[in-house]
């Protein structure tokens, strides 16, 4: 029967820009080609920045020697590279990646490119609790990071609860977050003025976000956190697709929007809080990295892997500059993160208008 009817030959449609990747017999993944290329390019860039980071400092180390140390081979520069620079760089990498992913997730749920942990109160919650503890005499660097994690998560939970009204309204979430951020900042200021001068100075450095004196002890907790949360991040990368639609459409497609959003926000908040606990609220990384990444990949949602890589690039590069610009004085990395990322984002936005249709540089 069916052989008689001529079936017109038609080209099967696949989502434009994606490639279907088969893994084994049944598993098939959609891979965004441009996002994959950008990720590869970012890995190369990150590697270059890392080598530069390890080579420069009070004394210059040849790139070959630096790579040797990283690979665990004996080298005369073991002490400078392996003990001083490498651990601090690894902390920077992890903090940047965590902020990048956190920003991407929070911006996705809030549907707002300005939403990020340092805008909606997470950083401010972490600061308020940490600075409060400092002024009350608690200065142990083994306890403070955990307090900061608690502060960040508590602030986010409050914002979420207050923004809830039979559902999560994206704009409400951002506005209430901004309100909390302002309130918590004044609480922090109150602590700063009450506390003694030295504590206030120390707190100020922490609040700017700094990698000074960070080493393996700080790298381990955030490293573990990222590793443990990796399955959740992989889930989030897929779930992001659905929450980027409007609520009605997403629900009609069978998405349990409330749960998915809560999951994404919770993951973002935990990552941002852990990163803040490790290095303090390094401003703008979570805001910039996802926006730059998305403009590079031109995907319909914010690409998580590229955001993480870009966050790492920004923090490591900023810390390299922070260490060297006014050496021997070391600046807190937070002073420079915006300086590194913001001009590039602005350039991308300006170029974006002509680039979309014409593509002429």
């Amino acid at each position: 029967m069916s052989a008689d009817t001529a079936v017109p030959v038609r080209t099967p449609v696949r989502p434009a820009g994606y490639r279907v990747v088969r893994v084994g017999k049944r598993a098939r993944f959609l891979l965004h080609r441009r996002a994959a290329l950008v990720a590869v390019a970012l890995v190369v860039l990150l590697a270059a920045v890392c080598v530069a980071y390890l080579c420069t400092g009070e004394s210059f180390v040849a790139p070959a020697e630096a790579v040797k140390v990283v690979l665990g081979q004996p080298s005369p520069d073991e002490l400078v590279v392996g003990t001083l620079r490498l651990p601090r760089m690894v902390v920077g990498l992890l903090v940047g990646a965590a902020f990048g992913i956190a920003g991407a997730l929070i911006q996705t749920v809030a549907r707002n490119p300005l939403a990020s942990p340092d805008i909606i109160g997470i950083s401010q919650g972490a600061s308020a609790l940490t600075v409060g503890a400092m002024t009350f005499g608690l200065t142990s660097y083994t306890v403070l990071p955990y307090l900061s994690v608690v502060g960040g998560i508590a602030a986010a939970a409050l914002v979420y609860v207050f923004a809830w009204r039979g559902g999560l309204h994206a704009t409400r979430f951002v506005l209430i977050g901004i309100g909390f951020a302002i309130a918590l900042r004044s609480v922090t200021t109150l602590f700063l003025t009450k506390g003694d001068y030295l504590v206030a100075q120390q707190a100020q450095i922490w609040m700017t976000g700094s990698l000074n004196g960070r080493g393996w002890d700080e790298a381990a907790p955030i490293g573990w956190a990222l590793l443990v949360l990796l399955p959740a991040v992989l889930w989030a990368a897929r779930a992001q697709r659905t929450v980027s639609m409007d609520d009605d459409t997403a629900t009609a497609l069978g998405v349990r929007l409330g749960r998915v959003r809560l999951g994404l926000v919770a993951l973002g908040v935990v990552l941002a809080s852990v990163a803040t606990g490790t290095a303090g609220p390094v401003d703008f990384v979570a805001l910039l990295a996802p926006q730059i990444a998305r403009r590079m990949t031109r995907t319909a949602q914010i690409p998580l892997l590229c955001s993480a890589l870009l966050g790492a690039v920004i923090v490591v590069l900023a810390d390299l500059l922070a260490r060297r610009l006014f050496s021997p004085t070391e600046l807190p990395v937070g002073v420079l993160t915006a300086a590194v990322g913001a001009p590039y984002l602005i350039w991308l936005i300006i170029r974006g208008h002509g680039g979309r249709t014409g593509g002429n540089a």
Binding site: R10, T11, P12, V13, R14, P15, A16, G17, Y18, V20, V23, R26, A27, R28, F29, L30, L234, W235, R238, R241, T242, S244, M245, D246, D248, T249, T251, A252, L253, G254, V255, R256, R298, T299, A300, Q301, R356
Partner: protein, 297 residues
Amino acid sequence: MTTTCPTDADTTTPSRLTARFLTLAYEDRTVVHELDLAVPDGRVTVIVGPNACGKSTTLRALGRLLKPAGGSVLLDGTELARIPTRTIARSVGLLPQSPVAPEAITVSDLVARGRQPHQRWWQQWSDEDERAVTDAMERTDITALGDRPVDELSGGQRQRVWIAMALAQDTDLLLLDEPTTYLDIAHQVEVLDLVRRLAAPAADGTRGRTVVTVLHDLNQAARYADHLVAMKAGRIVAEGRPEDVVTAGLVREVFGLEAVIVPDPVTGSPLVVPGAPWSPDRSAPSAPSPSSSGKAL
């Protein structure tokens, strides 16, 4: 030639989707009152009524976008609230009134997202997905637009893309909330013809899809509906075949409009012709105005 629906029809037609004593409210304002509705399978059901009569609200509840304040919506006899939302999404597709696409998304990417309820984390693209998406884009005539960003399309093209997304979901039931809103008359007809084609039985005799749609235009509703539901103030005033439902009395009762009903010259379905437009000649016959034709525009 024309699609005729069995005349014994509407009381005996099976129904997968039904509403019972459905009461719907926003906050504490009740919009729909104890509504009973059985959506006939394999037919086109059109809900009409004046603005704010609760027709879109009812459609949203049928698609579980709105939780009933009282009563229930049943899919195959089970309350929607008891069925996992993903399972519902494999049987019921819904196109909301003003859907929002993610920024910079391409047409084919958006249509492909209609496959969401059929996909798993590790199965992001099956042969079945490809067939459904290709099919949906062909039916809505947007195959050539596949690589274009949705933001760059015209209103008519965009609406067809959204319909394609709902079609790609490949559901037996399809709920469309005013699908013709942003379209010019040619595209309106195109979309409504597509709706009729979806509901038409396949060559092998299997039943077509069940479509429920809200329309603003009563004449279009009368032309395209198998089953017409007229609502007013949150209640169903009349339902049945358009030729039985659309009468001068109903138009007066539901819309508060004086009109004459004549047979549509093409389809024979009831055509609502409202009374003569206002003109100064009629309201003030003693003072004819030369600018009256200009004002009528």
